[in-house]
Structures are given as structure tokens and as C-alpha cells.
């Protein structure tokens, strides 16, 4: 298993799998099968996959710890960048296809429509993470600071789910499903963090005292 996870080919395979959703949208576009409202279809498909990739990315760390498979970390950056990739597609669909660069409309939407405000914020938060995703930037920032910065993904994912929840008219089950999955993934981190702190606490108390 660990050998398989370390293989170069698996990484290539995962990369190709991550392209399947956009490939299917493209395939449907070629066949003129993007429903009666293609722009809405593309917007929803890319938005859905942004959320899914954010959740998959956030699932890597808990999975790695539970299964004791540190090799899984190899896939985290790629999955996170795919979340950003789908977010870019989603954002540009809105900007170009839906609003057609109507800047006044766009700003009105961003400021007035709260589901767009939070969605826009969620997208902006992903940009520094994508930019600093390279090994060079980890070195430049230092592991601790880099990690602190990349915790923004929690906020971005939460805002993304709220964006979806505020958009739907009444069928809240799907946004709530995303919310539940995100809650489990974040709760795991909280519990792991608390457990870790408790384990370390006694050591901290054993500071040598002057006699």
C-alpha cells in the first residue's frame, strides 16, 4: 500500500482523475448537452466541484493520521490546487458568461448579495494559498508561518459552504451535507489538537525549579 502510494504513476493517475469533472462538462458541451441553461449548468458544476475538492483536500490530513499513511501528504498540494482550479473556473464563469464583464453589476452583486459576498471572499482567500503552494515559498515563509497561512483553507471552505446554503431556495439538504462533512473534518482537527495539547502539557509543567 505504502509503496503504491509512493509511486509516481499513482500521482499521474490522481491528476487525470481530478480532470474528469471538467472533462465531462467539456464532453457534454461538445454534444450540445449542457441543459437548457448552459451557463447555469457550468456555474453549478464548477461550484460543486470546488467544494468537493476543498473537502477532499481537507480529508487528507485526518486520513493520513488515522491510517498512519504519511505518503498521502504527497497528494494534498495537488488536490488543493485542483480546488483552486475549479474555483477559478467557477469565478470566471460568473464573471464572463453570467455577467459578461458588466463591472457595475458585478460590484453591486459583490456588495449587495450576501451569498456572492461570501463566495467572493472564499475565492480571494484561496489565491494566497495557491501562490504560496510551492516548496520555495514554504522555505521562504518558514514551516510554522506557512502552516498558519494555509489554515485559511478552513475559513475558505466554511465560506464556500455558506455561499451555497444562502443560494438555494429551499432544498437545503445538499449544502447541509457539505456542512456536515466539513464539520466532521474540522472537528477531527480540533480533537486531535486538544489531545496533543494534553499530552504535551505535563512536560511543560516539569520545568526544573530552583531548589
Amino acid at each position: 500500500m505504502r509503496k503504491l502510494l509512493s509511486s509516481k504513476w499513482l500521482k499521474v493517475l490522481v491528476f487525470l482523475l481530478c480532470l474528469v469533472p471538467v472533462g465531462l462538462v467539456g464532453w457534454r458541451a461538445l454534444h450540445g448537452d449542457l441543459t437548457a441553461n448552459p451557463i447555469e449548468f457550468i456555474t453549478h458544476a464548477t461550484g460543486d466541484w470546488t467544494l468537493r475538492f476543498l473537502l477532499i483536500t481537507l480529508a487528507i490530513t485526518p486520513l493520513r493520521m488515522l491510517l498512519r499513511l504519511p505518503e498521502l501528504t504527497r497528494f494534498r498540494r495537488m488536490l488543493g490546487l485542483f480546488a483552486f482550479f475549479y474555483a477559478c473556473l467557477h469565478f470566471s464563469t460568473w464573471l464572463v458568461l453570467d455577467k459578461f464583464f458588466d463591472m457595475s453589476e458585478i460590484w453591486k452583486d459583490v456588495l449587495k448579495r450576501r451569498f456572492i459576498t461570501v463566495g467572493f471572499a472564499a475565492f480571494l482567500l484561496l489565491i494566497p494559498l495557491a501562490l504560496t503552494s510551492t516548496a520555495g515559498w514554504i522555505r521562504r515563509l518558514g514551516g510554522k508561518r506557512w502552516q498558519a497561512l494555509h489554515r485559511l483553507i478552513y475559513l475558505s471552505a466554511a465560506l464556500g459552504v455558506i455561499h451555497y446554503y444562502w443560494l438555494v431556495k429551499s432544498a437545503v439538504i445538499r449544502p447541509l451535507t457539505y456542512a456536515a462533512i466539513l464539520a466532521v473534518l474540522l472537528l477531527y482537527r480540533l480533537i486531535a489538537w486538544l489531545a496533543n495539547r494534553r499530552r504535551r502539557a505535563p512536560i511543560a509543567q516539569h520545568v526544573p525549579q530552583p531548589l
Binding site: V20, P21, L24, V25, R28, D33, T35, A36, N37, I39, E40, A45, D48, W49, R52, L55, I56, A59, P62, L63, L66, L97, F100, E105, K108, D109, R113, R114, F115, W166, L167, V168, K169, S170, A171, V172, I173, T177, Y178, A180, I181, V184, L185, L187, Y188, I191, A192
Partner: protein
């Protein structure tokens, strides 16, 4: 015999030790299974083709009706595969799939309440009440998309003439058919069923207000409200209630499903109005299905000449 008896299950087999010993793991497992299921469902939906053909019957003796727009009707395939009919699922493509076997026969509509002649009408009777007219109307959804539909039907006031509302009748209430067995998806819609709607009496009697029994010269496909629905072209689409079984004349204002769910977002009147935004999105423009750029939304959906006088002296921002 090569069949082997399965060994007796021990208690430990019921719940894997690792799982029940570790709540965190269990929670995680749920989270991951959920993520995997969500991703899987999404892939399945993206990959499956979306065309479904429905059996409809040609309606005979249809005459050209008044108030027809000369705009190009939206293709039949789009009108039948892009529907809001939450009883059959909340995705636009759901009703076409899930309403395929909807039973629309036998069907009766009860006309009742504050009327001299309450009566139940069968579909056979309804189709003979008045000459069937083709009415090509614009249809504007509250979600800011629009279509042009060549409906077939007759004015709702035909029913009123037969039923003879009394002086007490000031409002008209409508009710959709609802059957949990035939509409299992309704459980996830987030709204209460049966779907109900209502109009003021003068709106209901207006010659634009239609009882639709068909479109494109044929009976309605189930996802578009078969076998009989109301069409009110100057109001947002959700006012045009589908698959009705009851028309009730009454003295009090009837409830309306979306208004009941979110009164700040969906008014009782819900006249199409580009100047009154939905709290979550603008109503100034709309996307006509099949067009790339959005077009401006018209006050009363372009039927102001006919219906604006119904609302003289009314604050349309307040009574949205």
C-alpha cells in the same frame, strides 16, 4: 455440496472493533464516506445523458387565441427538461426524469367554495368546456430566467361563469395534487406539500389568466404540470401552479407556498417587476433560455397594458 455454511457471526463482527473503539474514526469514516458519496453522485450526474421522451397526445380543434407574443417560442426540449416542480425533485433536470410515470388519468378538478354551483369536473369534461386556444406567453421565473411557451387552454373565467361565485368570493385558492408514493423526491424539497397558490378574484377573472391543458398543440407532459395547470403570465412562474385538483373561491386571502416559506422573499402578488429586487438577487434582467446575453425584465412581464390597472393606487414595492 460446495456451498459452505457461513460461520456464525460473533458479537465482534457486528461492529468492527476499530470503529466502535474510536469515535473519532467513526466520525471520520462518516465524513469520508459522505465526501466520496457526494463526489460519486456528482460524477454520475455529470456523465449521464439528459434527454427523455414523453408520450403526449395531440389536441384537436385548437384555435389561435388573443394576447400572443410574436417572440420565438422556446424549443420544446428546453421547456420539458428545465423545470421547477419540487414534488419531483429540486434539480431542473429532475422532473423530466422523475415525473415520467406520473398518473394523470383519471383526474378531476373540484371547483368549490363561495359559488352557486360547486362541482367536480373530469378531464374529459374540462376539455369540452370551451374552445381550446393557443396562447403564446412569456414566462418569467423568479430565479431570473425566462421562456416563451405556446400554451393551449382557455381563460380561467370560464370556470367562474359555470360556478357562479357569490358576493363573498373575493379570492381564489388553488391546490396541486400531491401523492407521497408518486413523488418520493418531495421529502427533500424543503417545502410543504400539497403546493398551494392564490389570486385575487379580479386577477383570476382577467382574460390573460389561463387554464392550460397543453402546449405545442399537445397535452402537457407531466413535468410541465399535466394534465391541467394555471398560467398567469404577468407574475413570477411559481404563481402558475401545476397539476391542480382544486379551485376554491373564498372570502379570505389564500396562502401561497413560497410566500409561506419565506414571506420576505416571495410576496403574495409576485408581479414581475424589474424595480423590486429579490433580497438575494436582482430582478432587473433575465436570461431567456437559448440566449447568451441577459435581456431587461419588463414590468408585469410586458403585460402592463392589460393588467397594470388592476393595481392602481397600490404600492408595488410594498405589495411585491
Amino acid at each position: 455440496m460446495l456451498l459452505r455454511k457461513t460461520p456464525d457471526l460473533t458479537y465482534a463482527d457486528v461492529t468492527p472493533r476499530a470503529v466502535y473503539l474510536n469515535r473519532r474514526k467513526f466520525l471520520k469514516a462518516m465524513g469520508l464516506a459522505g465526501a466520496a458519496a457526494a463526489a460519486g453522485e456528482g460524477l454520475w450526474k455529470l456523465g449521464s445523458p439528459s434527454q427523455i421522451v414523453h408520450a403526449t397526445t395531440k389536441l384537436t380543434g385548437v384555435v389561435k387565441g388573443p394576447y400572443c407574443t410574436d417572440e420565438k417560442p422556446t424549443p420544446y426540449n428546453d421547456i420539458t427538461h428545465y423545470n421547477n416542480f419540487y414534488e419531483f425533485g429540486t434539480d431542473k433536470a429532475d422532473p423530466a426524469k422523475n415525473a415520467q410515470n406520473f398518473r394523470t388519468s383519471p383526474w378531476t378538478v373540484s371547483v368549490e367554495g363561495e359559488v352557486k354551483n360547486p362541482r367536480k369536473y373530469s378531464m374529459d369534461e374540462i376539455l369540452k368546456l370551451a374552445p381550446l386556444e393557443e396562447r403564446i406567453y412569456r414566462h418569467r421565473c423568479v430565479e431570473a430566467w425566462s421562456i416563451v411557451v405556446p400554451w393551449v387552454g382557455f381563460p380561467l373565467n370560464v370556470f367562474a361563469k359555470l360556478a357562479q361565485p357569490t358576493a363573498k368570493a373575493q379570492w381564489v385558492a388553488f391546490e396541486s395534487y400531491f401523492d407521497r408514493q408518486q413523488m418520493p423526491e418531495a421529502a427533500y424539497a424543503g417545502i410543504d406539500f400539497p403546493y398551494v397558490e392564490g389570486l385575487r378574484l379580479d386577477e383570476a377573472l382577467h382574460p390573460l389568466t389561463l387554464v392550460s391543458v397543453g402546449m405545442y398543440g399537445e397535452t402537457l407532459p407531466p413535468q410541465d404540470g399535466a394534465p391541467i395547470r394555471i398560467t398567469v403570465p404577468w407574475k413570477y412562474g411559481f404563481k402558475s401552479i401545476k397539476s391542480i385538483i382544486k379551485i376554491r373561491f373564498q372570502s379570505s386571502q389564500p396562502p401561497s407556498t413560497w410566500n409561506r416559506l419565506a414571506p420576505n422573499e416571495y410576496g403574495f402578488y409576485s408581479n414581475v417587476n424589474p424595480n423590486v429586487d429579490h433580497p438575494r438577487w436582482s430582478q432587473a434582467k433575465e436570461r431567456r433560455l437559448g440566449e447568451f446575453l441577459k435581456r431587461n425584465t419588463l414590468l408585469f412581464n410586458g403585460y402592463g397594458d392589460q393588467v397594470a390597472s388592476l393595481y392602481n393606487g397600490m404600492d408595488l414595492k410594498k405589495n411585491f
